[in-house]
């Protein structure tokens, strides 16, 4: 490893500690590592500029009328009263969009999605009409004045019933459609896997549900469309993680030439994948601006955000794991049902309808694996890839880490020991997985052992044994995940035909100050700091002398944007490469200035000097001035000091980590307390450890949220039960512990600076650790499985059911009885079995008549 492993990217001081204004840029020390963020001074003053803060002259306000039902034929819409509202300027319906060919729009998965309904509504919260008024209050008032008549149809809510014969056909808009099937997709070697399973000592199966959840960024989604009829220019200010991709899609959808469209993505209040797609409200704002001749702002409210924009997961996974009796994992298999909602709107590389789910073999050396995924339509909101999921690595990591723990239970083996026996070894890298991924680098055992050491794993197990003696419910859960991020090589990966490469442009101005322009867009990840630090590292000028420009298609080079943890792996590489281009050009110019052949020059951060004569040197600032001045330049060297590049990654990167979660469970209420969480991450070369740690903390909180409380559920009629923050619970400071983080550093061999990316690692890796810890805590009761979210109610019922089962087995009068009987928990307290004895010690109150059933309080 020659590139970065030995390069000191981290220095023991922060920029804020440096003396101000001392020395020239070439001389003063350059701060790397945990710099304070360049974006923070505006945020802490309330001077961030988010979409809803923007006010354009003459701006009007839009509001969307949404379907109240999940599945219904549209009979009529009467907008007369709304149009009569004195402050209403226009009301747009699907009928108005049809002649413009805009009633339907392409999704990011080669399906189409309704913009405003024309035929029938297919999920509760679907867009029905769009009101434009002088102010936001009036627009909302007018929604109440629209009269819609529906002919209600039976909905398909349970994905497992979507393919039943006779199930209502949701997508009758698609010609020839006779069922709700979207795709079947497979990966791995089915026959080889069958053979491994047939010959294995042990096979364990589980039904693993990853429920529908929502990214729910604190800032909801929105757009301001500003169409200028004179020059035909459309500017869309919008909450997008992918400004350039949005521009292309708008051009394709609207027919407005791409060069006449400008997308501006201002400060974004969190994205997590929620701000990748183009939502109907955006299209309506564009139409509204063209129709009214005014800028039109549309900003969704929280319920609209939760009910209609990109959800995540909703994977129903049947998992099977095969192993030898002594704990060698041999094979893994899954048959998975993917609920995509009413329109297939997932944003993932075209070749991969299930995203990167087939990395489900995780961090282990297997003999065979096979994965099959079936996608179906249901009467729910579309989406599917969001919430920091790395194109469904989240589901994959959760499945394999739950299966490994299920195997550990079956083998009665410590889950850490089982993992240590099966983790890939350093000498196996680069490793080609049984489903075709080429892992770049890893020293897995080192990372797991560090996590165990930080957690005090053996002591925790001792403490747990003592607590079990006393009947207390304490659990220790592990997860070891391997991510695949940085999508992706153009030859394999595109979205709507757009290859997943990203550009960067660097200009060094005459005074040695630089501007770097990026195709990606930050939503809080600190791009303005991290990318300046990459330039600073490569060019030897201080980060504060580097301005990062992003989020404006008129000002930045083309690229596919920020999601799937791809900014540092792809755009970060582009920035390193473009900076090296500038450095190489600076060498030629320095050679001319020093009258020395360029090959005789050596680089030291910030300057080129003559080999053997370090006093003869030129700093980047001196070279930049000369490049813009009148110095005679060598043959073929253009004036000025700037360069551009587009980076096409040769492979994805594979960050990984070892997580250990400790929980205590209240036997009386089922309340889970996450007492400790140790996370050791390896994201390759680290640029700003403070920012990396922040990314990990946020992801761990997501993980605890999903494991314990977050779910977008539906009733039988298709009513969304997670449509506000009163129902969709997100962890507060009270539900999460003080995070304990550590790291190992195994650089990516193919990335210019060895960085792998970190944004989603913790979201991917943490849910399994929490759930495994909960199951571990409940083992003495006989529990070996539980689904997310582990709300107090679910945990309590799981405990009560387990106790009932064991009483049914051991109780004299109940032998052969039905352990699933709802009345069983009542008997538990009277049982003399050892297991329910533990339950009594644990303070589990199964109550009389279920009176102790607690609410799902988060």
């Amino acid at each position: 490893m020659t590139t970065t492993a030995d390069r000191p990217l981290r220095v023991p001081h922060k920029a804020t500690d440096e003396p101000e204004g001392v020395g020239s840029p070439g001389e003063r020390p350059i701060g790397y590592g945990s710099l304070r963020r360049k974006e923070d001074p505006r945020f802490i003053r309330g001077k961030g500029r988010y979409l809803d803060d923007m006010l354009l002259p003459g701006m009007l306000h839009g509001a969307v009328l949404r379907s109240t039902v999940a599945h219904a034929r549209l009979v009529s819409i009467d907008t007369t009263a709304a149009l009569a509202h004195p402050k209403v300027k226009a009301v747009i319906t699907g009928k108005d969009l049809e002649p413009l060919n805009l009633a339907w729009a392409p999704t990011l998965s080669n399906d189409v999605q309704s913009v405003l309904v024309t035929d029938k509504v297919r999920f509760q919260g679907q867009e029905v009409a769009f009101v434009i008024a002088e102010d936001a209050y009036s627009a909302r008032d007018a929604l109440e004045l629209i009269d819609v008549e529906y002919d209600v149809l039976p909905p398909v809510i349970n994905a497992k019933k979507a393919l039943d014969p006779g199930a209502p056909i949701i997508r009758d808009d698609l010609e020839g459609r006779t069922d709700n099937h979207i795709f079947d997709w497979e990966s791995g070697d089915k026959e080889a896997t069958e053979k491994v399973f047939a010959e294995a000592d042990v096979v364990v199966t589980r039904e693993v549900l990853y429920p529908r959840v929502h990214p729910a960024p604190m800032e909801t989604c929105g757009a301001i469309a500003d169409y200028e009829p004179v020059d035909g220019k459309l500017t869309i200010y919008t909450t997008t993680q992918a400004p350039h991709a949005h521009r292309t899609v708008y051009a394709l959808v609207s027919g407005i030439p791409e060069h006449k469209i400008r997308i501006v993505s201002p400060d974004i209040g969190g994205g997590f994948g929620n701000k990748v797609g183009i939502y109907p409200g955006y299209v309506c704002a564009v139409v509204g601006s063209i129709v009214t001749g005014h800028p039109v702002k549309w900003m969704e409210d929280r319920s609209e955000n939760l009910m209609s924009t990109s959800f995540a997961r909703d994977y129903h996974m049947h998992g099977e794991i095969a192993a030898t009796r002594d704990g060698k994992i041999l094979g893994l298999r899954t048959d998975t049902l993917a609920d995509h909602g009413a329109f297939n709107g997932t944003a993932q590389p075209t070749k991969y309808p299930a995203g990167f789910f087939h990395i489900f073999t995780g961090s282990y050396d297997l003999q065979a694996a096979y994965c099959k995924v079936t996608g179906v339509y249901t009467n729910k909101a579309p989406g599917g890839v969001a919430y920091a999921c790395s194109f469904r690595v989240t589901e994959a990591a959760y499945l394999v880490e739950r299966m490994v723990d299920a195997l550990a239970i079956e083998l009665d083996m410590d889950p850490a020991e089982l993992r240590l026996r099966n983790l890939l070894k350093p000498e196996q890298f680069p490793y080609t997985s049984k489903t075709g991924w080429e892992y770049d680098s890893g020293e897995y055992e080192k990372t797991l052992r560090l996590a165990m050491e930080m957690a005090g794993y053996d002591d925790l197990r001792r403490e747990q044994a003592e607590k079990r003696e006393r009947g207390e419910l304490m659990g220790i859960g592990l997860s070891f995940f391997t991510e695949t991020v940085g999508a992706g090589p153009r030859k394999h990966m595109d979205i709507l035909g757009l290859g997943m490469a990203d550009g960067a442009e660097l200009r060094v101005h005459p005074t040695g100050k630089a501007v770097v322009r990026l195709s990606v867009q930050t939503q809080g990840q600190g791009h303005e700091t991290t990318f300046a630090q990459i330039v600073a590292e490569e060019l030897g000028i201080p980060p504060e002398d580097i301005e990062v420009v992003h989020g404006d298609t008129d000002q930045t080079p083309y690229g596919l944007g920020t999601y799937g943890s791809r900014s540092t792996p792809v755009s970060g590489a582009a920035v390193a490469v473009v900076t090296r281009k500038v450095r190489d050009k600076a060498r030629l110019i320095a050679g001319a200035m020093l009258e020395a052949p360029p090959e005789d020059l050596e680089w030291e951060k910030g300057r080129w000097f003559v080999k053997g004569d370090p006093d003869k040197s030129k700093t980047i600032a001196e070279i930049a001035m000369a490049a813009h001045g009148t110095v005679a330049l060598p043959e073929g060297v253009e004036a000025n000091l700037e360069a551009m590049t587009t980076y096409d990654p040769p492979n994805l990167t594979y960050p990984y980590g070892a997580y250990i979660c400790v929980v205590d469970i209240d036997g009386g209420t089922g309340q889970v307390k996450v007492r400790r969480f140790v996370a050791v991450d390896d994201c390759g070369t680290r640029i700003n450890p403070m920012i990396i740690e922040g990314q990990v903390h946020g992801g761990l909180t997501d993980g605890v949220g999903m494991a314990l409380m977050e779910i977008i559920d539906f009733d039988e009629e298709g009513n969304c039960l997670g449509g506000s923050f009163m129902d969709y619970l997100i962890p507060t400071a009270m539900e999460v512990p003080a995070w304990e983080t550590g790291h190992t550093v195994t650089p990516s061999p193919h990335h210019p600076i060895g960085a792998k990316g970190i944004g989603e690692s913790a979201t991917v890796g943490s849910p399994a650790a929490v759930v495994n810890a909960i199951i571990d805590a409940l083992r003495p009761l006989g529990v070996d499985d539980i689904d997310m979210p582990c709300t107090p109610s679910r945990v309590w019922h799981t405990m009560a059911d387990a106790i009932a089962r064991s009483s049914a087995k051991s109780g004299a009068g109940t032998a052969g009885g039905d352990g699933e009987d709802a009345s069983a928990p009542k008997q538990a307290g009277a049982s003399g079995s050892a297991q329910s004895g533990s339950a009594q010690q644990a303070g589990i109150q199964t109550g009389e008549g279920g009176g102790a059933d607690p609410d799902d309080a988060g």
């Binding site: 963020r37 802490i44 929280r302 939503q523 450890p689």
Partner: protein
Amino acid sequence: MQVTMTVNGVEVTREVEPRRLLVHFIREDLRLTGTHWGCDTSNCGVCVVLVDGTPVKSCTMLAASAGGHEVRTVEGLEQSGKLDPIQDAFMEKHGLQCGFCTPGMMLTSRALLDANPDPSEDEIREAISGQICRCTGYSTIVRSVRWAAEQEQKARDGESAAGSTADEGTHETADHETAGATA
């Protein structure tokens, strides 16, 4: 109807609809856009402002109800070009990422420190428990508040804050990572 209140030390009078929410009054009528809006249901707290020194969710208070009261927003934290220690602390300890919940978090923290200059971690967590941050996982917010408390204590102790705080801020933010955790 007419409403008069003091916002960041300045008396303002505006004509408002009786139903107008305080958050919209602040953001749109006064154009103080540092106060954000996030959920409609009083759950997320990105709209928190101080009313007579107490944190209030401004999406759940009518502008009219704030009449006669003193409102302080994030724009009122910095005084005469000098940052409030809590603002400095959030930058120093990475208490923010996307910045959307940050104004509310800082104002609640300010109110906490005004009432309790030396809060424990548990007290800090409880104080901000009515507000959601989707980015930070809260640990760095807790650290920020503790750091601000320490800076303010030093200032009270008569140490030369201007000269010495920079030295105190030199440790790596990742300093709590286990020694030797870097392999």
